[in-house]
């Protein structure tokens, strides 16, 4: 919504700089998003009188115009087709001035003739949309002598506010409603002006409601039956067939109008407020819309067949052509305005093409109605037709302002179009909407606001906003209580608390005294699972992984490609097929993130995500199952140090997993082959994967992606993927308990190395465990070398272990170590057919 400061000033009498008014409006919830100053930067553009027009010697399209700009006569070359005859007044940009579009006016030769300045069009000055010719003062425009600056001559100075009006405030979608709030915050009285017939030459806002103008009086009835011009008998009727959707409908007639361009002040005001000027008749309806916030519609009476208005719902299959010339398919939920034969408007949304106001319109039927907001919203959304009218009707206009708005519209129509208002008008009330009365307990107000408020101030504020406030007659009430009758232009005020907000709002939130609640220690604090996830994330980052956050919705094809559960929860209204189901795994998202990075030149990625996956549940469950998972993807060959590059492999991933668990204080990570991974992790390479567990509790899997999965996901090479089941991991760690400290050994250890050739299929971990468990003196066994190649037969590998022996109770003798070690070697030979080296 755009609003004119000059208009608001005229309606309220408030006179303050734009920035201040903007701040006050914002402070009461009418947010001013930006301010656009109008009529500035036009120094050097003045009114000039045409003195002489002659032909250009070389060009037929150009003419030479001598103008008097108040200082002297100047000759300019002008290309416009509508240069007025001598005596006509135009807008002239002097040499040295700059136009709003940035054009600097200098002396320049046009087709061989020196032009000293420029005669301007509305578009060039950004004061209107007329661009097919220069601006020429007409009879209706103000008198201004040559040399008068344009801003003064045409009263251009204004500040236009771009407002963010919250959907609960339909009254603020018109200048009257804004003015009421503005007056309230400035503490000045406000009265809705009585519609009067404006005198000729009046500027909107300034003299609009001035005294001394004839007051328009409409006599409302169910029908109009009056002799208009001699010999023309009017007989107009309105029938409402659906009182729920259309509780009230009013109509007035203005006869004998002539369609013409609007006077400049109106065109300029509409231009500033972002509305295109069409004609005086259409502009009149828009002017009232912007003023009252109540959309009205003008029908060409000649095209209202049967001179009847019927408000009804559409029939199934019915169509109508709207103003925008589109044939619309309607359904039974759409409310229509019909004439004696068929639809002429989509109620509250858009008029029909056949009955719109046009150049040859002479008689106008003005509609001013109240439509059920929901009904309008449904039609508007279903048809994708959001208009200035639907915007207001779906928020709720004032049903009880209809007579006034109608009178106002009729008076403007008559004033601008030169017609006469038929004194008899129609007002059909199918269902009355009465103002509600709300009891306001002042103690409640103080309690909710938290800062004392004077009850007389409360009363004043509510009255300024248009409420009728009476002291409640409630007997024995412990505090001041008011009965507040809320005007119907404020449909948002329905409960006591709404009134409390009004008082707090108009007083200003800045008048409240901030206070901090008493400390109340929390029993729960941050729950452990949430803290655990935070630790996990931090550990993952510390292990060299970068956190990604990917969308929860993915393409069904991506799940299939990743060989994860493709029986996913679908969205009913996805944005696209690419994001149409909820992910069952983090893999597709991470793979896509990796691809994005690769496309932008990354040669390696190490990404992790901790997020939710979604899984279908049986009907008895109210919701799908949500699981929390941590996954990471290592892909490419990271540069380790100065060109030392090696692709990520299984052991990098396992190492990252180990380092994450170590940061969490967990015991050693066990990685083991497990054929059940065929079912649990089919996305992993069947020969290059492992189940991860800690303390015997399984919590995830690690492995190269299955080559076909990698291919399908567009990841070349051998990406490695790890997934943790977060709750399972937490449970495993909880089960394991906190790591415990031990006394340090008092006796020294002795180490012995053993190297052996074993079959390739044997697992180092199995041998390690066997050695460790072979004797109590063995404190630790660690693999320190793995070798294949020269001197090692095909199908075998060389493993070297370092065994540490210690007797916690005594210093070991060499002899004892030798004996134990020999037994270990024998065990390796016996159980693993190891060939000692």
């Amino acid at each position: 919504m755009r609003a004119s400061l000059e208009w608001l000033k005229a309606l309220t009498g408030v006179s303050a700089p734009a920035a201040e008014v903007a701040e006050r409006l914002t402070s009461i919830g009418v947010e001013v998003e930006s301010i656009e100053l109008r009529g500035r930067g036009l120094d050097g553009v003045v009114v000039a009188e045409v003195r002489e027009v002659s032909a250009h010697p070389k060009s037929k399209k150009l003419s030479l115009v001598r103008v008097h700009d108040g200082e002297g006569e100047v000759e300019v070359v002008c290309g416009a087709p509508n240069v007025p005859a001598p005596g006509g007044r135009v807008l002239f940009a002097r040499v040295g001035s700059t136009l709003p579009n940035g054009m600097a006016i200098g002396e320049r030769e046009v087709a061989g003739v020196l032009s000293r300045g420029m005669i301007c069009s509305e578009t060039e000055l950004d004061i209107g949309t007329g661009s097919d010719g220069i601006f020429v003062f007409g009879d209706a425009d103000p008198d201004a002598s040559p040399g008068t600056p344009v801003a003064e001559a045409l009263s251009l100075e204004d500040a236009i506010f771009e407002l963010g009006i919250t959907p609960n405030r339909p009254d603020c979608l018109g200048h009257l409603g804004l003015a009421r709030d503005l007056a309230a915050v400035y503490g000045v009285p406000f009265e809705v002006p009585v519609p009067r017939a404006p005198s000729r030459g009046a500027h909107a806002g300034e003299a609009l409601f001035a005294e001394g103008m004839p007051r328009i009086g409409l006599h409302f009835a169910g029908t109009i039956s009056e002799i208009g011009e001699p010999g023309r008998l009017l007989d107009v009727g309105v029938t409402i067939e659906d009182a729920e959707r259309c509780p009230r409908y009013g109509a007035a007639l203005v006869l004998g109008v002539t369609s013409a361009p609007s006077p400049f002040w109106l065109r300029y005001r509409l231009h500033c407020l972002g509305v295109r000027s069409i004609s005086n008749l259409v502009d009149a309806t828009n002017l009232v819309l912007l003023e009252e916030g109540h959309p009205i519609h003008g029908f060409d009476l000649a095209h209202v067949r049967g001179r009847r208005i019927v408000v009804r719902c559409a029939h199934e299959g019915e169509t109508m052509r709207t103003l925008d010339d589109i044939e619309r398919a309607l359904n039974v939920d759409d409310l229509l305005i019909c004439d004696g034969e068929g639809p002429v408007a989509l109620a509250g949304v858009m008029g029909g093409a056949d009955s719109e106001l046009r150049d040859d319109t002479t008689d106008v039927l003005i509609e001013c109605a109240y439509f059920d907001p929901r009904s309008v919203r449904r039609s508007s959304r279903r048809l994708g037709l959001h208009t200035d009218a639907s915007h207001r009707f779906e928020r709720g206009v004032d049903p009880n302002a209809i007579p006034r708005v109608l009178a106002r519209a009729a008076s403007w129509m008559a004033r601008l179009g030169g017609g006469t208002v038929v004194a008899e008008a129609i007002d059909v009330v199918a269902k009355a909407i009465e103002p509600v009365t709300i009891r306001l307990r002042h103690e409640r107000l103080t309690r909710l606001v938290g800062t004392p408020v004077d009850s007389s101030e409360t009363r004043t504020i509510l009255e300024r906003l248009g409420c009728e406030v009476a002291l409640s007659d409630e007997a024995g009430a412990p505090d001041v209580r008011f009965d507040v009758k809320v005007p119907t232009f404020r449909p948002d005020l329905g409960r006591e608390v709404d009134l409390i907000e009004e008082v707090a709002r108009i007083r200003g939130y800045d008048k409240l005294e901030p206070r901090v609640p008493r400390v109340r220690p929390s029993r729960t604090g941050t729950p452990a699972p949430i803290l655990f996830e935070r630790q996990l994330r931090q550990a993952a980052a510390a292990a060299g992984l970068f956190e990604a956050i990917t969308y929860s919705f993915v393409a069904p094809g991506a799940l299939a490609a990743a060989r994860v559960d493709a029986h996913a929860v679908p969205l009913k209204n996805p944005l696209s097929e690419e994001r149409s189901v909820l992910r069952t795994s983090l893999l597709p998202g991470l793979a896509e993130a990796a691809s994005v990075s690769a496309r932008h030149g990354a040669t390696d990625v190490a990404l992790f995500e901790l997020g939710t996956t979604f899984h279908r549940t049986p009907a008895a469950e109210p919701l799908p199952e949500e699981r929390r998972a941590l996954a990471f993807l290592l892909w490419g060959a990271p540069e380790r140090w100065l060109g030392d590059r090696r692709p990520y492999d299984f052991y990098d991933a396992k190492g990252a997993a180990e380092s994450i668990l170590s940061a969490l204080g967990a015991g050693p990570v066990e990685a083991r082959l497990d054929d059940a991974l065929d079912q649990d992790a089919p996305h992993l390479h069947p020969r290059r994967r492992a189940r991860l567990s800690v303390g015997g509790h399984s919590f995830g899997s690690v492995g190269e992606l299955h080559p076909e999965v990698a291919e399908a996901l567009g990841l070349e090479g051998r990406p490695v993927y790890v997934e943790f089941d977060v709750p399972a991991l937490r449970a495993a760690l909880v089960a394991a308990g906190l790591p415990q400290a031990h006394a340090l050994p008092r006796f020294p250890a002795t180490t012995r190395d053993v190297a052996m050739l074993v079959d390739e299929a044997l697992l180092a971990g199995d041998i390690e465990r066997a050695l460790l468990e072979a004797d109590d003196l063995v404190e630790s066994v660690s693999l320190f070398d793995l070798y294949r190649g020269e001197h090692v037969p095909e199908g075998q590998k060389s493993l070297a272990f370092r065994v540490r022996y210690r007797d916690p109770g005594a210093t070991l003798t060499d002899a004892r170590v030798d004996r134990t070690h020999a037994a270990l070697l024998a065990l390796a030979q016996g159980r693993f057919a190891a060939e000692l080296r």
Binding site: T166, R505, P514, R515, V516, L545, S552, V596, S597
Partner: protein, 361 residues
């Protein structure tokens, strides 16, 4: 062939003459050790000589033994001095050698990084936790009832239709209730209110979903919402808590502005603006308010929070008596704070996961 005595004497003399120059010629430790081995090693000249002493006549052995030991000692001392000399030379050379290149990259594990949203979420949660708020989470797919009805959204509120909210299909599974991807984390507030008894204070961070996908909207984003319910929580409390929060988050000097606004589930409702963190027009050395500021567009203010007093309808819907308890609620976009904090120009960057972005700051 000369006799053993002569050979011994000659040998000893040769060693005596040779070891000094040989050690002096050695310019590194290896050469020195080689030279030393030539004399004193297991096969060294001196060693061999000393082994040959048993061939000498018995009466001269003692004399020659002393002589040989003297030479041996001299060789050992010279060798050790040689070592010392070389070490000193090496140290001196090291001290005058070119400095190492400290600009070469460091070696070792390079940590990754937490996503900007995670960092900001943790920070926000920590601030509220220290103000006494419990952290609560809830499902991302939730009931329509929790997302809209319980919060007092009228049935035809624009947010409730297919245009703005993602609905989840469960017909195939035969589930009767309407489910959706939560449009705000208020669903968690509803769940907590149904679960708890006042007084309590919670914040609920998490992913939320709206059907908007354009330059300034992401269909998934992150929110944190807060709720405090007690017998006498007021608008003034709300302002006190949120002012404290903003100052903790952005600094004591940042101005805070409360202004009325509208959300269906609060009344009175408001929004909180903070002084623009980019042009800082309020601060010493800050810029003039200017429309050129890409963040505040010259207003000097940034909108960061929506808030208000919990609407009585919401309390009624969860079985609280609005005459007995009052409460405030607030919510903000974690993404927005992250974008302000790290100068992220476009929300889409947050979800593209380009490694250059993730590792860039």
């Amino acid at each position: 062939m000369s006799d053993p005595v002569t050979r011994f004497e000659e040998g000893l003399a040769r060693v005596t003459d040779a070891f000094g120059p040989a050690f002096a010629e050695a310019h590194d430790e290896h050469a020195l050790r080689t030279a030393n081995a030539r004399f004193a090693g297991p096969q060294g000249e001196l060693t061999v000589l000393m082994k040959s002493m048993r061939e000498l006549p018995g009466d001269r052995r003692r004399e020659f033994g002393q002589a040989a030991n003297a030479v041996k000692q001299a060789v050992t001392e010279a060798f050790e001095q040689g070592l010392l000399r070389l070490a000193q030379l090496a140290r001196a050379a090291e001290m005058s050698a070119p400095a190492l290149d400290p600009t070469l990259p460091g070696r070792g594990v390079r940590p990754g990084r937490l996503h900007a949203i995670t960092r900001v979420r943790d920070e926000l949660v920590d601030i509220f936790a220290s103000l006494g708020f419990d952290v609560a989470e809830g499902p991302e797919v939730d009931l329509y009832d929790y997302n809209f009805d319980k919060l007092g959204f009228p049935p035809d509120h624009p947010a409730t239709d297919m245009q703005d909210t993602f609905f989840v299909t469960r017909e195939e599974d035969g589930a009767p209730a309407t489910t959706l991807l939560r449009a705000h984390t208020s669903t968690v507030q509803v769940r907590e209110m149904l679960r708890r008894k006042p007084p309590f204070a919670i914040v609920s961070p998490g992913a939320v979903y709206r059907r908007d996908d354009d330059a300034t909207h992401s269909p998934m984003f992150f929110q944190i919402e807060g709720l405090m319910v007690d017998e006498d929580v007021s608008l003034s409390d709300l302002m006190g808590v949120l002012t404290l929060f903003v100052k903790r988050l952005l600094g004591d000097d940042v101005p805070v502005r409360f202004r009325p606004s509208y959300f269906p589930f609060v009344e009175p409702g408001g929004e909180v603006d903070v002084g623009c963190t980019l042009c800082r027009p309020w601060a010493e050395g800050g810029a003039e308010r200017s429309a050129a500021c890409g963040v505040c567009k010259g207003t000097g203010w940034l909108e960061v929070l929506g808030c208000g007093m919990v609407h009585p309808v919401v309390f009624e819907n969860v079985g609280y008596d609005p005459e007995q308890v009052t409460g405030f609620a607030f919510g903000m976009g974690i993404d927005r704070i992250a974008m302000l904090r790290y100068g992220v120009p476009n929300i889409k960057l947050l979800y593209e996961n380009d490694i250059r972005f993730l590792s860039g700051f």
